[in-house]
Every structure is written in structure tokens, then in C-alpha cells.
Subunit: 244 residues, 2 copies
């Protein structure tokens, strides 16, 4: 039977065998939520970049560069990390280079051996679940966490995705059992439950409650975000299905 696992932080990824698996990276506040929003608002692509310096140089190659430090748009950067910046097709057809800490690290660590890498967010939860149902490979959900530690919002997403995949999967992974149980127990009050979370509190200190609310919106977008040649692009599972 097809298997699903959850790795609770990139710090534990060496304990998992990625070979041939579909890896879904999740960093709800806010990297993967912002990436999905950018793709839904028709940017050309989003290139995840490890640090500010590399990202800054990409401005010279025609990229719109996005990055924050300490809750403010980094010096010389066009954009911070807010998903709201991309609404109304604000960066139509632009190539975005985006630097994040936890999210980019998680993507880097997932490249070795995996069959494909997707980005996940509540914003496109069921589109990703539908795509995964159309495939046969085993699945690993990698939570980006916070500075190496477990975090609540990414784990809840993992549980929500497993729940959406329902009966089609086997799991002997305790991370999958726990995150699904956590989601099921709190699914009617995700915002209230997450208001206690350490990262949400940090974000509230930066007056970005609007970002938090947005990142917790379910199924606003019907697209799959996939890493292709180092760039995140829209990968519509329906299109893929008709090709095969």
C-alpha cells in the first residue's frame, strides 16, 4: 500500500529515505503560502534563494527580489514576505527570486533522490491532495519548522493534507498519526488554536495579522506548485492528467 510520512523539521530529514518519493514542503507562515499566492497571481515563476546576498544580485538578472529581515523588507528589495503583495496579479509574468530561511532550507534538503518537490499551503490544500491522489509514489511531507524546531502551523497542514487524502494511504509513521489527530481535534478552530503558536505570536508583534488570516484561508487557489529546474511553477494536475 502507498505510504505517507511526516518529517517534523528539516533537522530530522537525514532519518528519512527520500528515494522516489514526492516531497511536499510546507512553511505556512509565510514562505510556501506566499509562493502559492504568487503563482496563483500569475507570476512567471518563483526561485527560492538561500540568502539575501545571492538574492540581491539576481535583481541585475531581471528578477523581482523578495526578502525580509526582522519583519521588514530587506534593504534594496522590492518586496517583503507578505502574500498580500502579489494579489490582483501585481507581478504578472515577473520572475520572482525569494529568500526565506526555513522554507528554502527545507527545499534544499529535499532534492536528494526525491521524484518531485511540491510546495504546500492551506491556500491550495485540496488541489495538492487531488494531484497526489492521481499519482502512485510514496509521499513525504516536510515541515519547515522554526529554526530547526517543530512548529504548530506546519504540522497542522501536514495533518490536514493527510486527512484530505483519507483512506488511500497506509502509515506506520507516528508523525503522520500525530499530525492527523491534531488536525482532526482542532479543525473547527484552526485560527484560535494557532493563535497560541509561537510563530503566530512573533508575527503578531510585527502587526501582520492580515497575513496570518490570509495564510489560514483554505482552498482559495486551485493549483499545484512544483519545483522544476530550480524554479517553482504552476503545475496543474488536470493538465498533467490529460497529458499522460
Amino acid at each position: 500500500m502507498r505510504n505517507i510520512e511526516v518529517c517534523l523539521t528539516p533537522e530530522l530529514i537525514h532519518l528519512y529515505d527520500l528515494q522516489g518519493k514526492i516531497v511536499i514542503i510546507v512553511d505556512i507562515f509565510r514562505a510556501t503560502s506566499t509562493m502559492v499566492t504568487a503563482l496563483a497571481n500569475k507570476v512567471d515563476s518563483v526561485t527560492p534563494v538561500e540568502n539575501l546576498e545571492v538574492c540581491r544580485q539576481m535583481a541585475n538578472e531581471g528578477y523581482v527580489i523578495a526578502g525580509e529581515r526582522n519583519g521588514k523588507t530587506a534593504e534594496g528589495f522590492a518586496l517583503g514576505n507578505s502574500p498580500l503583495s502579489y494579489l490582483d496579479n501585481g507581478f504578472l509574468d515577473k520572475k520572482i527570486a525569494m529568500t526565506t530561511t526555513n522554507g528554502t532550507l527545507a527545499i534544499e534538503k529535499s532534492k536528494s533522490g526525491s521524484s518531485e518537490i511540491l510546495i504546500g499551503a492551506f491556500l491550495n490544500l485540496h488541489a495538492t491532495a487531488s494531484y497526489l491522489k492521481s499519482k502512485k509514489e510514496d509521499i513525504l511531507i516536510l515541515c519547515a519548522g522554526w529554526k530547526g524546531k517543530f512548529n504548530l502551523e506546519d504540522s497542522l497542514y501536514a495533518g490536514a493534507l493527510i486527512d484530505a487524502l483519507s483512506e488511500d494511504l497506509a502509515y506506520d509513521c507516528d508523525g503522520a498519526l500525530a499530525t492527523r489527530a491534531l488536525y482532526q481535534a482542532n479543525k473547527n478552530n484552526i485560527s484560535g488554536f494557532l493563535a497560541q503558536a509561537s510563530h503566530a505570536k512573533r508575527l503578531q508583534n510585527h502587526n501582520i495579522e492580515a497575513d496570518i488570516d490570509f495564510c489560514l484561508t483554505f482552498d482559495k487557489y486551485d493549483l499545484v506548485g512544483k519545483l522544476v529546474d530550480g524554479k517553482l511553477v504552476v503545475w496543474n494536475w488536470k493538465t498533467v492528467g490529460s497529458r499522460s
Copy 2:
């Protein structure tokens, strides 16, 4: 306010500052459950030992040696890892040397800087909680996990202990929030919930359901297990209270 954190596996312990904290090690199936049972049944002490070879040599120094590999008592060992072996004061006043994999590793990694190290189990949950309430130091619960990964039973214990400590603690640690929520959602069916857990399944394969049931008994013993000079001994918080 006094703080409580949960480290979900020893593999993440380097991300935590142990300085001055009380660390509670938990390895429900079965190391810390067995240690608590041995102490309650009046062994002299339990010395946690890293590997079979070192443990085997301690037989020559008057220790009763306990250890398993692949679900069977290791060659030349008096005892396996079952808590049931110690019932009815079966090893009264004996010095036990016990080798476990996950549990001993967790203890080793907790020594640096912590103010004290306790072992926790459902068997003495409220005794440990009462002791912790009598103290002022910050608290770190370290789940032994399974080969570096998160596991369900140790995390549920963490949540149960936090729940028992109730309102006296602050936590901005998502591990504490998640494990408490997981416990609260499943506390009326701990056995059923854990029956799905990967480690419980492994143990069932070895026909030790009786061990599992025993390890999930709440508050059978009214004692605190504490590491003193490399040995686990009974540390009765009431006695300590009257000394101070």
C-alpha cells in the same frame, strides 16, 4: 513565569538550552516505565548503560544486568526489558544495570548543564507532577523517540505531564502546545489511540501486549525517579520538601 518546553527527540536536543533546567526523560515503551517499576519494587538503584558489552561486564561487579536485542533477553543477561520482571519486589535491594538504546541516549544527552534529571512514565505521572510543582526551575521534557524520530507514546506522556501541571506554567514552545492538545483530544482512549503507533505495533509483534498495557497504567506508583551520581534512585518529593 516558569517555562516548560518539549523536545520531541534527542536528535533535536542541541537546539535547546538545558542550563539550570529540570529535564524529564521519557521512553514509555519501555525503558523509563521499566526503571520506574524497578524502583517501586525496591531495587537499590538502576544504572543506565549505553551498550550491551559494558553492561555485560558489570555483572562481574555485582550488578544484575538487563538488556534485550530484537525482543529477546540478550545472551548472558539475567533480565530483558520488561517491567513485569520486577514485580513483587523480585529484585529487592539489587543494583540493576540496564542497557536500552533510545532511553540511555536521551539520558546521556541531558547531562550537560541541567539542574537535575528525572525519568517519567505514566506509572508515576502525578508523583512527578507534584514534585515539579514543589520546585521553581524551568522544565524540559525530552522524549526518547524511536531511532531519532518522533514517537507517539512519549509525546502523549509529555502532553499528560503538562496537563497535570495545569496553570502553573507558561509555554511559548509549540512542542508543549501540540503534545498537550494531542493528549487532551485522546485522554479517554490512550490505549486505542496508541494501538496505531508504530512502536506499539512492533512490540505486538513480539507478543508483549501485557507489557504495553502495564506501561499505559496511570499512577500506579507514588515515587519520583531521579538520576544521582549516574544511578537512578527513588527521590521522594515529600522527603525533599521536609529537608529544605
